[in-house]
Amino acid sequence: MQLSNQTIMMKKMKYRIGANKFAKLLFMLSAFFGLGVLAVLFYQVFSQGIQFINWQFLTGKLSTQPERAGIMGAILGTFWLMLVVVPVTMFLGVGTAIFLEMYAKKGRLVGLIQTNIANLAGVPSIVYGILGLTVFVRLLDLGNVVLAGGLTMALLILPIVIVASQEAIRAIPSQMSEGSYGLGATKWQTIQRIILPAALPGILTGAILSLSRAIGETAPLVVIGIPALLIPFPGGILDRFTVLPMQIYYWTLDSSLVAEYANLASATIIVLLITLFVLNSSAIIIRNKFQKSY
């Protein structure tokens, strides 16, 4: 090509600069589309629900009369549910990841387990609900209590926690563990003192993100059978319970009968969103804090 030909070059230049600008516009639009829809959603929810959030609403019992209804039961239910989900998923998830990455010999069996875990992450949540109903509610005869719901939720997010933990462990350079073995540390000491501390930010980020999924999930609980109305506050993991998203579901369902229920649902959505926002932010803060320390 004749680069010295100024007029041809100027023509091409115009086209190139135009295409450059167009590309930028395209990507900006696609970014703003998602953000725009989210903004509309937020606006709708907040304008409908914000004036219904008050002390009485946050701490009160459930009631059929909209002006007296509160969501303390659902808040407590979510809290107890997490108290089951967190230790169970952390222990099983991190344990499985450690086994697969540190102990298991790479071979057919491990490959099979690995593929299955990846597949389990894609199984629809309602299927986990059916599993929970069959195993925990009926077979183990727990009934539709917090423990049964929590174990079901734990299984649901387990694959995500395993995969996130595995990736966090795999990201640690092998020179780290070699340095530790080279000093005479056992495998367990190496895991405890080198692998887990270095993998912790990744593990925690994965765990918290999957936890937000469990907090917002309804389908498995619908299958297990969560009562719609008027149960006493749950005081432990063997009590019957409801959770925030279930409350949203029931109020939205009944809003054709009582119009104010739609507002209550919006108010509950705000509470749920704020909870999730706090959880996700803490995931980011934890990750940044640990990464800075070395």
């Binding site: 780290m176 340095g179 000093l183 003192r193 501390p197």
Partner: protein, 271 residues
Amino acid sequence: MVVKERIKEAPFSVVNNETWKKPIYETHGLNLWYGTSHALKNIEMNINEKEVTAIIGPSGCGKSTYLKTLNRMVEIVADVNISGSVTFKGNNILGNAMPVELLRAKVGMVFQKPNPFPKSIYENVAFGPRVHGIRNKAMLDMIVEDSLKKAALWDEVKDRLHKSAYGLSGGQQQRLCIARCLAVDPEVILMDEPTSALDPVSTHKIEELIKAIKNDVTIAIVTHNMQQAARISDRTAFFLNGEIIECDRTSTIFTNPSDKLTDDYINGRFG
């Protein structure tokens, strides 16, 4: 190629400073396979106590493999089959008689790339003693200071012991790794090209350090740098294609080698 046994002095040898040196490691008929690839062939070699033994040879000839066999790190990285015998102070290390954790406490290792842990300088040095059960704070403080002094790093880091080890330069990190080794009071330190990632000044410091600690510890060092081997080692082993061609006093290897291949390699005619 015929394997040549040239360790004429073994098991006891008279060396230039007129002290008796006895072998701390004895290797007999060592063979090692990575799967089907035969990486070490019938190795016969001794490593003498409180000497620096250099291992030289072209890339892929099995130097690192041999070094990592001496503290059994080779089994961590890959599936290997080993036959023959390697004894450390008279005990065969290849069987189950000696726990690898004990062996590795007595035989430290320094790697090609400095690999400090993502912890503070203090915690890096205290790691080994802690792993072996020392909890006493005063004792740990003493070990840390002592090891850093031996590694000629104390003056540079004494004001930032609790800062991250990643804030150190590459050369300082490598000396930290040596200090980390020294903290478990090893009898042998294995070094796999410890200066190949470092600048000349840092390299010089590490060579001085090696000369200083060799009165207390035995050192086996793999190096691609002939001058380095000549400068710091008492004995030199030349590896080629998984075999040991020659192992003798460094002065002999560099001035009057018995094998033509050694001569060719040292003088850069191949490799």
